[in-house]
């Protein structure tokens, strides 16, 4: 009976060999597919269970991961969640990621290709994978000033460093606390998320870059003025500025704000028109320049551009091939003109930076867990919408707007401020949106800002950009100048 026993032991070996092959197949060959399977919660746990890098503003972590004793190992923690929510986004085990948490996820989680050497050295030294820290361009004081000035009003503030394109402040209101979504109890997160979704004023919407687009109103006159300067006009060129302007091929007319007249003799310089934000003269100017010229000037300032800062920015839009009457309206930032607050801040920044528009960006640098610099973002030129001379001429005109025109509420003592107000009709019975775009100091700008207050916010009485938005812009510019404008 020995021979069959020997054969039986060979059969046994074959059985075990089969098991080993099967195990190898699962753990090596099929492992990639199995690990990538959407039903594999392990992948989720692993992702949420590794040390995630912090998000840093001005050298201080505003979002970081602290160890906790639950299956996820780490809890995302916020020093000032609502203030930075527009930039950081949330990081939820139930609803995933948004904002910087999403766009910089592979760096924060430590899986990015650029972190290969970090991972290798961590492996050698026995460290577990640790994510990199992402430093934002935001300036804590400017951000705080913007949020405080905007208060409870629905709207947005964007402040840029015109010289570099760094985003100094990005505030949207109302905002939310990402901490309630980073909670590890899925039922509590669900409840909190449903509550946020149910709010009509949309706290999860980033109005600064990705909310509904807004009609820019009279702030769009800056684009028309820039186009005019390029077409050979100058600050003293006389414009036709009637009390009422007939629109071609219609029985409609355009009048000025509050029915006032711009000039006694229906003639007014470009500078004066901008200063008091005359409608009839700019509507007429737009028609005379022709829409294509205005449109291409707007495109040079960023309209229609798919920006990622790295948060995705909704492209601002303009009407396609408007007729004469529509061109007149569109020249006033009405009709089908739509823009994000970031877009309007870019207009200010382009004029401020001697006609050179820098690409806006929100991530300053990335450092691995050993504080080694992994990525360092350099300023980059996006376009050159104006010549230096034209830009300076337009700047001078904008200075008079703040000194003696519609934007006096943005005056800062001792500092020359350039600006333009906007009061955009929303086409409904609702109150208009209040706008202010500007920069300071006018001769050597360190900050360009755009303020939007939806439907004039909570102020009583008349809503104008000069009355509602200009004081907010003033507070933001003051904070930026006080911060030294050294960023």
């Amino acid at each position: 009976m020995n021979e069959p026993v020997r054969r039986l032991s060979v059969v046994v070996l074959a059985m075990f060999l089969t098991l080993m092959v099967a195990a190898s197949y699962i753990q090596v060959i099929a492992a990639g597919d199995l690990n990538a399977d959407a039903r594999n919660v392990r992948t989720l746990y692993r992702e949420y269970g590794t040390f995630r890098g912090p998000i840093v503003v001005d050298g201080e972590s505003v979002v970081w991961s602290s160890p906790v004793d639950d299956p996820y190992n780490y809890q995302r923690t916020y020093s000032d969640g609502p203030l930075y929510a527009a930039a950081t986004g949330y990081y939820s085990t139930v609803f995933g990621r948004t904002g910087i948490e999403q766009t910089e996820n592979d760096l924060l989680s430590g899986t990015a290709d650029s972190l290969f050497w970090t991972r290798l050295s961590d492996l050698v030294s026995g460290e577990t994978q640790r994510g990199a820290s992402v430093e934002l361009t935001l300036d804590a004081e400017v951000q705080q000033a913007a949020a405080s000035a905007l208060g409870d009003d629905a709207g947005a503030v964007v402040a840029l460093d015109p010289r570099t394109g760094e985003v100094l402040a990005m505030v949207t209101s109302p905002t939310y606390d990402p901490a309630v979504l980073a909670n590890h109890s899925s039922s509590e997160v669900n409840a909190a998320y449903q509550e946020l979704l149910a709010q009509e004023d949309g706290p999860l919407v980033n109005r600064a870059i990705a909310g509904d687009l807004y009609p820019p109103g009279s702030t769009f006159k800056l684009i028309v003025a820039a186009a005019a300067l390029e077409a050979g006009y100058d600050a003293d060129s006389e414009l036709y500025a009637p009390d009422e302007l007939d629109l071609p091929s219609t029985s409609n007319t355009i009048s000025n704000y509050g029915g006032k007249s711009c000039a006694a003799n229906e003639r007014q310089t470009l500078a004066e028109s901008l200063e008091i934000s005359c409608n009839t003269s700019f509507a007429n100017l737009g028609m005379q320049l022709g829409w294509s010229l205005v449109e291409s000037k707007a495109a040079e300032f960023g309209w229609g551009e798919q920006l990622s800062i790295p948060l995705a920015v909704t492209p601002s839009v303009l009407p396609d091939d408007p007729d004469g009457a529509q061109t007149a309206m569109a020249s006033l930032g009405q009709f089908d003109d739509r823009a994000t607050p970031l877009q309007m801040a870019m207009v200010a920044a382009g004029i401020a930076n001697d006609g050179v528009l820098m690409r806006p960006y929100l991530v300053d640098s990335v450092r691995d867990a050993n504080l080694r610099l992994v990525e360092d973002f350099e300023p980059e030129q996006l376009s050159e919408p104006m010549t230096r001379a034209d830009a300076n001429e337009l700047t001078d005109m904008m200075v008079t707007v703040v000194e003696s025109g519609t934007g006096t509420a943005a005056r800062i003592s001792g500092v020359e401020v350039a600006g333009k107000t906007g009061t955009a009709e929303t086409g409904t019975d609702a109150r208009p949106h209040a706008w202010f775009v500007g920069f300071a100091p006018a001769d050597d700008p360190v900050v360009a800002v755009a303020v939007l207050v939806e439907n004039g916010g909570t102020t009583d009485g008349e809503v104008t950009g000069g009355r509602v938005a200009a004081p907010i812009a003033k507070a933001v510019m003051e904070a930026a100048i006080a911060a030294g404008g050294d960023s």
Partner: protein
């Protein structure tokens, strides 16, 4: 046909002592790692554990020296190694469950079962001084085995867990009588086959150039086949059914040296399995869960969820594993018992799983070696049968987890949480110790 092979007279007791030291070291180190990763490491407690293991190993060593001095020196160390890793893994699951708010004491209970198992194995070599005594109980063993197999079907006594009716509750604890019935059947098969092997080996009709057994000798095989089919259908346990039938066919082959029996046997089982799949929906759903485990529909229905989660766990372990205590084996249901192999694959990686499988190969090959060295036909059949029982049980469990065969409810010997399996398999080791002791004993001192 040579039934006796000369074996060198070397007791190997000293090598055994060294190997036991290795096994104890493995067990203590594994537990230390588990405690460390659970932030629970207390050195004095670990020292007590180490002392306990050392004492157990020494006692085993002394007992074997006294009652089975020529026993195979590799068997017990290999088993203790598996057992130690199993204990550490089960303790690790206790920690994992505790972290999720579920209070379990699997680790502690399993230590008690292990000690009881070791004691039973020692009791076997103390009381059973000559394995040939067992031959007298051939038919008693057959009846006991049948009773054990059918006990779970007795109303009020048998309990159904996860759709398989293979448990009975005694004193508030669940027992799997099939684990013990397995031993009884091996004894019965050995006794029966050694008596009837000549008849069963008689040549029958010749088909396709191969001589088949005479149809009139098919009785015993048919009987076991019926029993296996009944277990599969009424106890819903494909594992025990396959184990029982497989052991019989293997032993039949060893007894008769006729491959034709294997072919007939496998053919009958395959036919039965296919028929059962066609006739009974619960059998069919098991097959579907096996063949289409990753299919979204099947997964959503829940039938393959445990299997697939086990696969996810093993995949996440990769080559070297996440490290003991650093994976998430608790995401797989029954990670401490039915799916302990997946837990090991996840945390110790393919490397660790290969090592575990190799330990089983060593144990089984020592049993086969014992069978070759044994002088009597009954002993040869018994040793080969017991060895193959361990091999087939591991194959069925690990094969189920790795999708080689449909998933069944058997436990991994010495590794998985569970008392019946631990006790029964230590008894098997006791029997193998006795068999190898007699096989390796020099002629002159044979009683």
């Amino acid at each position: 046909m040579a039934t006796v092979t000369d074996v060198k007279v070397r007791t190997g007791r000293r090598s055994e002592l060294g190997l036991l030291g290795l096994a104890v070291g493995l067990a203590v180190l594994a537990r230390g790692l588990v405690d460390y990763h659970a932030d629970f490491l207390e050195l004095d407690e670990l020292a007590i554990y180490a002392a306990g293991w050392t004492a157990v190993a020494l006692l085993i060593h002394l007992a074997i020296r006294r009652w089975a001095p020529f026993a195979d020196p590799v068997l017990v160390p290999a088993v203790l190694g598996l057992n130690g890793i199993g204990l550490a893994m089960i303790r690790r699951m206790d920690f994992a469950y505790a972290a999720r708010g579920r209070d379990t004491d699997f680790g502690e209970v399993q230590i008690a079962w292990t000690l009881l198992g070791v004691a039973l194995a020692m009791l076997v070599i103390l009381l059973l001084r000559d394995y040939r005594l067992l031959r007298r109980f051939t038919y008693t063993a057959g009846v006991l085995g049948l009773i054990g197999l059918l006990l779970p079907l007795v109303p009020g006594l048998g309990t159904e867990i996860n759709g398989a009716r293979i448990w009975i509750s005694v004193f508030g604890r669940s027992l799997q009588p099939a684990e013990f019935a397995k031993i009884a059947f091996v004894i019965f098969f050995a006794g029966f086959l050694v008596t009837n092997r000549d008849t069963l080996a008689l040549a029958g009709p010749k088909v396709l150039g191969m001589r088949f057994p005479r149809p009139r000798d098919m009785g015993p095989l048919a009987l076991v086949w019926v029993a296996a089919m009944l277990v599969q259908i009424y106890e819903r346990d494909l594992g025990t059914s396959l184990l029982l039938f497989g052991i019989f066919v293997a032993m039949l082959y060893v007894a008769t040296e006729r491959l034709s029996w294997v072919i007939v046997g496998l053919g009958m089982f395959a036919t039965g399995a296919v028929l059962a799949g066609a006739l009974f929906s619960h059998v069919a759903s098991r097959y579907t869960a096996w063949l289409h485990a990753l299919d979204a529909e099947v997964y959503r229905s829940g039938t393959s969820e445990q299997l697939v989660r086990g696969l996810f766990g093993m995949a996440s372990g990769g080559l070297f594993g996440t490290g003991l205590g650093e994976g998430r084996p608790d995401l797989v249901p029954y990670a401490e018992s039915d799916f302990i192999v997946a837990s090991i694959g996840e945390e110790l990686g393919l490397t660790g799983l290969m090592a575990i499988l190799t330990l089983y190969v060593i144990i089984v090959q020592r049993a086969m070696r014992t069978a070759i060295g044994t002088r009597h036909g009954f002993g040869k059949l018994l040793a080969a049968g017991l060895g193959f029982a361990i091999a087939l049980q591991v194959f069925i469990v690990v094969g189920g987890v790795t999708r080689v065969i449909p998933l069944t409810g058997l436990t991994t010997p010495f590794l998985a949480y569970g008392g019946s399996s631990m006790l029964a398999n230590w008894i098997v080791i006791g029997l193998l110790l006795r068999l190898s002791d007699q096989a390796r004993r020099p002629e002159e001192v044979t009683p």
